[in-house]
C-alpha cells in the first residue's frame, strides 16, 4: 500500500463519542476534542486497525476505503 493512499477517516455523523478509539490506540494517534476523536498523530499509526474494529459505530476506516482489509 502506498503512503499517499493512506488515511484515517472518522465518520463524524456516525461517531457517538464513546472515546474508545482515543483510549486504546496503541500509538495515541487520536486526541479528544469535546469528546470527539481527532487524528492528531497520523504518522505514528501502524495500521493495526484496532481502532477500526473496536469502534462500536463503524465510524473509523484506516488505510483508505478500498484498502484490502485482510
Amino acid at each position: 500500500m502506498s503512503e499517499k493512499n493512506f488515511e484515517i477517516k472518522i465518520n463524524e455523523k456516525a461517531c457517538k463519542r464513546c472515546g474508545i478509539c482515543i483510549a486504546f490506540c496503541p500509538k495515541k494517534v487520536f486526541s479528544s476534542e469535546n469528546d470527539k476523536p481527532v487524528v492528531v498523530n497520523p504518522d505514528a499509526c501502524t495500521k493495526c486497525k484496532l481502532c477500526e474494529i473496536r469502534c462500536p459505530d463503524f465510524a473509523i476506516v484506516v488505510g483508505g476505503d478500498d484498502d484490502d482489509d485482510k
Binding site: A14, I20, I53, R54, P56, F58, D65, D68, D69
Partner: protein
C-alpha cells in the same frame, strides 16, 4: 464504514440504536468481518435473533434476517436450518435472550449439534428493558431488580454449552477484537453447533448501576481481567475470582443433526 463491508450492512438503517460505547456494535462488526474473511455466500446466510438490544443486530445486517420472539431465536433457527440445510444459519442473541427465557432452546440446540453458530452478546444485564439482572449478572452486582445486590449465581455459559453437547465453544470480549473475529471464523467453519460467548459492555445500565464509569473504563476492565484458557489452567483457584477466561474451550467432531436427518430420509425411502 469500510466500502468493502458496506454490502453486509443495511446502510440506510445506520446509525444504529445502540448507546454511545455500547459493545454490541463491536460484536456486530466482528461478525461481519468474520463472514467477509471467509467469503461466505451472502445470499445463503440467514441471521436470526430474539428480542433485546443485542437482538437488534440482524436489523442492521443485509442478509435474510429474522427478529423473532424473546428467547426463541434458536427454535426458529432450527426450523430454518432443518428445512434448508444449505443455508448458513447464525444466531445473534443476548445473555437474557439466550440464557434466561431462551435457556431451554439453547441447551437443546447444543444437544442436537445442529449446524448453527450462536454468538451471545453478554453484557451481564437486560439492556433493552433498562437494567434488570440476568442469569449472567455477577453475584453482588446491582441492577434495577437487584437493588440490594444480586444473590443469583450466574451461569458459566461455556461450561453449560459444552455440558449440553455443543461441539465448538469459545469466549471472547469486545476488547479483544482480533481474537474475537478469529473465533467467530472458526465457529462459522465448524460443522455442528458452535457457541461464541462474547463479553460486551452496557455502559448505560450495567455500567451506571455498578458505577463502572465510562465505556473506556469498562473496556479497561475487560482488558485487565481477561486471561487465556492456557493461563487459566495454570492459575491457582483463588486468583481466578473475577477473572474472565477467554479463548477456545472445546472443539469436537460429532454427527451433525441435519446430516443425520438426511440419512433418515434415505433409510425411509430405501425401505419402501
Amino acid at each position: 464504514m469500510r466500502k468493502s463491508l458496506e454490502k453486509y450492512y443495511r446502510i440506510d438503517k445506520l446509525p444504529h440504536i445502540w448507546c454511545p460505547g455500547c459493545g454490541h456494535g463491536i460484536i456486530t462488526g466482528a461478525v461481519v468481518r468474520a463472514i467477509d474473511n471467509l467469503k461466505l455466500d451472502k445470499d445463503k446466510i440467514c441471521i436470526v435473533s430474539g428480542i433485546g438490544c443485542s437482538s437488534r443486530a440482524p436489523g442492521y445486517l443485509n442478509f435474510n434476517t429474522l427478529h423473532t420472539t424473546h428467547g426463541r431465536a434458536l427454535a426458529f433457527a432450527t426450523g430454518i436450518k432443518l428445512a434448508r440445510p444449505d443455508l448458513k444459519v447464525i444466531v445473534l442473541t443476548g445473555d437474557g435472550d439466550c440464557t434466561a427465557i431462551g435457556g431451554n432452546h439453547f441447551i437443546h440446540a447444543c444437544r442436537r449439534n445442529i449446524d448453527i453458530t450462536t454468538v451471545v452478546f453478554n453484557n451481564s444485564i437486560y439492556g433493552m428493558t433498562s437494567g434488570q439482572y440476568s442469569p449472567m449478572t455477577p453475584l453482588g452486582a446491582y441492577a434495577t431488580t437487584a437493588p440490594y445486590g444480586n444473590i443469583d449465581r450466574n451461569f458459566d455459559l461455556c461450561k453449560l454449552a459444552q455440558a449440553s453437547g455443543a461441539t465448538y465453544v469459545a469466549r471472547g470480549t469486545v476488547y479483544h477484537v482480533p481474537q474475537l473475529i478469529k473465533i467467530i471464523e472458526k465457529a462459522l467453519q465448524h460443522k455442528g453447533f458452535s457457541v461464541v460467548e462474547t463479553l460486551s459492555i452496557c455502559p448505560t445500565y450495567f455500567g451506571r448501576k455498578n458505577k463502572l464509569g465510562s465505556p473506556v473504563k469498562m473496556m479497561e476492565m475487560l482488558r485487565d481481567n481477561s486471561i487465556t484458557v492456557k493461563a487459566a489452567e495454570k492459575m491457582p483457584r483463588e486468583e481466578m475470582v473475577n477473572k474472565i477466561v477467554i479463548g477456545e474451550f472445546f472443539e469436537e467432531n460429532a454427527p451433525e443433526y441435519t446430516e443425520e436427518y438426511m440419512k433418515i430420509i434415505q433409510r425411509a425411502q430405501g425401505e419402501e
